[in-house]
Amino acid sequence: MRITAKSAGAVAFAAVSALALAACGGGGGGASEEAGEDNKPDKLTVAAWMDFPQALLDSFEEETGIEVVVNRFPDGASAQTVLRNGLSSDGAGLSDVHLVELDWWTEMMAVPEDWAELPEVPDRWVDWKVAQGSVDGTITGYGTDIGPLAIAFNQDMLAGTGLATDPESFGELIGGDDATWQTFLDAGREYVATSDNYFVDSLTNAFQAAINLLPAAFEDPESGLPYDLAENTEVKDLFAMFADAAEDDVSAGIAIGHADWGAGFQNRQWASVVTPAWMTGIIAENADGVDGWRIASTFPEGGGNWGGSFFAVPSTGPNTAWAIELADYLTTPDAAIDWFDETGQFPSQLEAMSAPEIAETENPFFGDQRVGQIYGDLAAAAGDAAAGGYRGENFAGIQTLVTDGIRLVESDSATAQQAWESVVADFDALGFETAD
């Protein structure tokens, strides 16, 4: 660590001084010119973290003669770091087009001038996706996918306990049409009482989904200031519900992104996962060789949404005009269908949602279930509620803080009560000016 820690420090210092330079440089502000032959670049770069359908990139090159180079990141978090540092240093190191995830969209859009304004494309997306991708009425991100939530479960494991044998009986187990998070967690308690593994990989996904349904979870939509967490009874009650379940060892405490997540599937550690559409491909990859995984068409509280992304164009880029063309091209309904085939991510484009290619494709990993159909129905059932509540600039941070409390209970480091107290103490230490 000796040498590298120093060099890491040097990088940090360099970043600070780069900041100073950026402060002198001032905002770039991309001149909005038309994409034409005279300003056509040889290649365009796209920063993202999922696999791209190669055919899509090839046909763009055929059409325009521009080679598309994908700067692929291992996960959203690293793409976020690069984007954040690039934006704070006047666009240094940024790609022409960036994929931005909903969870950190607000942070990246803090300075709207950082992003090129994108022309309106009528009737391409569901309304709430367009609203999410806009800042003060200006579109700055073209939606790729949405993350309708379902529950993936292993019917072989559940059959072993006699609680459920197929997607229908699993739906009944977690509460049927009136399913709530409480009935879901109670089903989990029932499961772990008779099985030798956990019910769910981690309760943090479920908790985030529940938080997402609150109209204003952590912050006051009027002033944008955070609510005092100690007095935030809605969040506190939800926290208690999930933390109690964590105390009862309903979950393994290993969420997606954890080093042991993949191994957990292979070792059959849990029987269900709260699964947004974009995660289906990732699960198929990690649980390869483990039979019996299915997608249930029932979801607590009538459905939800986790994530989904946008393609946005940093305004400091040298090729903004063509980058906008590329962002447009990558978010057409046809492109969305290609992407569904590649990674399982569910389109936010209206035309693609109802396309037979999505609804009728059978997924061999999930026992030839029509996964696109199930997610389409769940997205329709969730409706506009899937858009989630108000997200101010501190939403992601406070959410992490509170979710860490659940993780604390999952790892047996604290009781539900202690964890809540620790979360509140951490929040108070940050010294926010809070809303009434």
């Binding site: 040097a10 080093a259 992601a396 941070g397």
Partner: protein, 379 residues
Amino acid sequence: MSTRSAVPPDARRVGWGQRFSRWDIKVSPYLYVSPFFLLFAVFGAFPLLFNVVVAVHDWHRRAGMGDFVGLDNFTWVLRQPLFWRSLENTFSIFLWGAVPQLVLALLIAAVLDQNLRVRTFWRMSVLVPFVVMPVATAMIFGQVFGQFGLLVPNLQELGLLTGSDSPFFSDRLLSHMAIGSMVVFRWTGYNALIFLAAMQAVPRELYEASTVDGAGRLRQFFSVTLPSIRPTMIFVTLTMTIGGLQIFDEVRLYDGGGTGGGKGGADNQWTTVVLYLYELGFGDWQDRLGQAAAVGWIFAVIIAVFSLVNFLLTRSISSSRSRGARVTRAQHRAAVARARAVAAASTRPEAAAAAAPGRDGPPPDAPVHDADVQEGASR
């Protein structure tokens, strides 16, 4: 200058040459070392000083410099429980990494210092872990200590661990030990080679003399080797302190570092000061560059003080050892003198036997002594 007056005017061309060569002697050494200092000024000194400016301002990533806030950032940091917790973690991880490392490195160096076959091979071998990037080390060790890794399932099999989760990611002390083990893995060989270099420089006569005096291998190690490599011990301990306290890569990637990870655990069990600094300034959401700079300065002072303490401690430990050896040798000489005097003055056998302690008898490990001599000669 005094030579110039002695040189006739028509020898001016020679004078120019002389002047150049004089400049060459005076200036070029500075030119040769200047690249380092220029680079250091740009990438070391300037950021260091600039950090002071950042630390006394309200500073954000995108907005840059804000209002002058004086020492507010410093008091804010000192009021954060997480800062103190990360400081505790840092020192704990440092101890778990440094102490076993020091002992092991000395041991390995002592073994390598012997007359081994294919000694270059062994010396190179201990450096292999050092070739592995810390990032790779952290990823691999993270897996080893994980729930399904090499360690935890086997410990469960042996009944040493109950529960199916890996305690190395929830228990504070165990996580420190796990991270300390990465440091040990990576740095032990490197320090062993530094120790080895120092041990090679210890005069072989000392070993010969101590062997003649009847000192065993262990005794030689503590009374000859350790005191002789004292300056190297101080050097290694100091660099270890400075580097070990700045630990970052290992803690950042211990839990995989992906979404939701890399923050030192749900309860900040293994958040170190540098990781805390990184999270404050460049992390997901806080965007507090001014406070992060303040952490940097506070931590720099702490490291400086701690290094000084370590320096004094190391110096006193090694010198008290050598003083101990000197006393023993004095006692030894006194005993010999007494024995001679007794032998000369009288022929009473029981007095001679009482005056000469058993360890003054013939060396029990004479063959070893021969090997040492051979080895010394071969160098």
